[in-house]
């Protein structure tokens, strides 16, 4: 996708990573940050690139939601919002859906 070879499983796991980061955001912001970057970050870029030619509005939403979360995670100390991570996962899963890939929502 977007010039990269990537498995669907990897892209789906990135959504699970966002769910895990969301769950950790309130109690362990450092864990949320590590989970976000180690499991989800590169897939967000990949999917945004894949969406650009097919659904630019969704690519825009995805990048803006990602940017908001990154700003929170890069604050010193990190201050991630569970709600913003949830929004990012919602938009990301919508993006995957646009690319015919289904990822389950977060289990609350």
């Amino acid at each position: 996708m977007g010039g990269e070879k990537v498995t669907a499983a990897r892209l789906i796991d990135a959504s699970a990573g966002l769910c895990e980061a969301k769950a950790a955001a309130g109690s362990d912001p450092e864990k949320a940050r590590a989970t976000f970057y180690d499991r989800s970050h590169s897939a967000l870029h990949t999917v945004a690139r894949g969406l650009e030619p097919v659904d630019r509005a969704l690519a825009t939403q995805l990048l803006e939601a990602k940017g908001k979360v990154e700003a929170e995670l890069e604050a010193i100390p990190p201050d991630p919002s569970p709600a913003d991570l949830g929004t990012l996962d919602d938009v990301y899963r919508a993006g995957l859906g646009r690319l015919a890939i289904t990822a389950p929502p977060c289990v609350e």
Partner: protein, 319 residues
Amino acid sequence: MPARRHVALAVTALLVLAACGGSGTKKADPSDLAVAVASYDLASGADTRFIVGLVTVDQRLIGYGTVDLRFSYVSNDKGANPSPPGPVVKASYLPIYGSVIPSPPPATPQIVHESDTRGVYGAQTRFDKPGFYEVEASAVVDGKTRTGKGAFEVKATHAIPGPGDQALATENLTLASTDAPKAAIDSRAGSGDIPDPDLHRTTIAAALAAHHPIVVVFATPVYCTSRFCGPITDLVNDLAHQYADRADFVHVEIWRDFQAQTLNKAAADWLYRDNDLNEPWVFVIGADGKIAARFDNVVTRDELEPLVKALPPLAPAAR
């Protein structure tokens, strides 16, 4: 200005492999590397910085140490005329700004956590003639050699202004551009405050007219889609605070409106070529108005800071 934008060498083909490998899909060797050429605007005939990102087949980044690169000429636009690989060129790790690097840093390449560092490998090299090339990258990770290949094009001449060229006297948006959306000045602004205001106080044209050295970063912090996107604007902002007496520092946001694919004119004048625009870029411009250095995609503090530090202090009245 409407625009189509690609990340370096990205193609629009949708290529998602089935989780267990689809029929007809060659199963990847775990020792393979995916090689992502991260350089933009390569040209023949002069020494050039070449940068490449290395990723395992399961999408984990390689970082630290040095890797070996070997370049092969493949073809020109008249057809294939392949040549054997050239000598090994050593490439060093260039971490994006903000990476958390242990001290001392690991001496050999290893799989890294993106929460600690992301980056590319860079080397100085020279391509004798224009055409299509292949780079083979080889990294010894945990005692095992991993290799991969990537393809790229070298043009006869640069399309983007480079060292020795006169800087373009463009009128980028500033804090005074109240008729522009805030996000057109810095995509991080959204509808709120414009971050890094010190990077949005002057135009390139005004700084050139004042005969000030200029450090310009062309970047879209929110809408960058390259995996190697880093906080390059933050780097330039930090240098702006530390070396405010040496140069004017300018951030040019790429997009007037990302969704509508409308570029900011200053970004387009500098970077939009052949219906394409790659970013980010950093340019260092001397007081004589000529470009002294340029960096594509990734630049480290170790590469950029010495150039800024070497600039003579501006006269107090000039600041």
